[in-house]
């Protein structure tokens, strides 16, 4: 049971959160201008690194805020100072 540091509520049990996948995948400015391949890349392709990974979390059972955190996927450690509201 990870202890995930919600930037608002402080550390809470993993069970209070929903995972939001890779962070910093922005909705394209103008989807209509994208090729099918570019659009498919936005829809379906995500990184899957072993090690540091910036990802999104939502504190669903708490303040319902989304935030980003950098987690090491090999050790599950969430880097202090790398949690942003």
């Amino acid at each position: 049971m990870l202890l995930i540091p919600c930037p608002w509520c402080g550390p809470r049990d993993e069970a209070e959160f929903h995972y939001g996948g890779q962070a910093h995948v922005a909705y394209p400015e103008n989807p209509a201008a994208l090729s099918d391949e570019e659009w498919a890349r936005y829809l379906f392709f995500r990184d899957n690194p072993k090690g540091r990974f910036a990802e999104r979390w939502n504190h669903t059972a708490g303040c319902r805020r989304w935030f980003n955190a950098v987690r090491n996927t090999a050790t599950n450690e969430i880097e202090a100072g790398e949690v942003t509201a």
């Binding site: 608002w8 509520c9 209070e16 708490g62």
Partner: protein, 190 residues
């Protein structure tokens, strides 16, 4: 007109010396969304008798209890029949705020007595030690398998705000766990 019916109207309260569980029905509850730095937030604080609490997980009590729910969200709780919505709306004026009457969305279960922390610890993963979660603290979290808003009061008292549809489940769960602290046979086993 027919009687109003609260979600736990059929719940038999627990009233032991060191543990008491009872519903506080029909409180007025307003969900408030507003930018905490805005003029409207300050004006609403004045109207409610205390500034909106901006420290996460805290609660203020003046004309109404104001519970921090998120960085721009509060639950304002007043007595039955208290027209808080009008008060807040008047204070907010034409500013961009979200004011929603949610009085029937959740009911409130009071858990009181020296055993209250022990009881809640059976289903709540938060550290409820008085030094960590003393009077004036509140949190949205899980109690058993229900989402709740938990508020700590003086004298080992807690207020558990639970969605009305989950209230029956949570009351059953509380009774089941409370049996750990009550003489055998006090609580009817289901």
């Amino acid at each position: 007109m027919a009687e109003r019916l609260s979600p736990l109207a059929r719940f038999t309260p627990v009233s032991a010396d060191d543990l008491r569980i009872a519903e506080i029905p029909f409180l007025t509850q307003i969900n408030l969304r507003v930018d905490p730095k805005s003029r409207a937030a300050a004006d609403i604080g004045v109207a409610l008798g205390a500034p909106l609490p901006t420290e996460p997980g805290t609660c203020t009590s003046a004309d109404a209890d104001v519970l921090w729910m998120g960085p721009d969200e509060w639950l304002v709780v007043g007595a039955r029949g208290h027209d808080l919505e009008a008060t807040i709306r008047a204070a907010a004026g034409t500013a961009h705020v979200g004011i929603t009457d949610v009085s029937a969305q959740r009911t409130v279960v009071a858990v009181d007595g020296p055993r209250s922390r022990d009881l809640l610890a059976h289903g709540c993963a938060l550290d409820l030690h008085p030094r960590v979660f003393g009077p004036g603290r509140c949190a949205q979290t899980m109690l058993a398998r229900a989402q709740v808003v938990l508020a700590a009061r003086e004298d080992d008292g807690f207020r558990v705000f639970v969605r009305s549809s989950f209230a029956g489940y949570l009351a059953d769960w509380l009774l089941d766990a409370a049996a750990e602290y009550l003489p055998e046979g006090t609580v009817t086993s289901r």
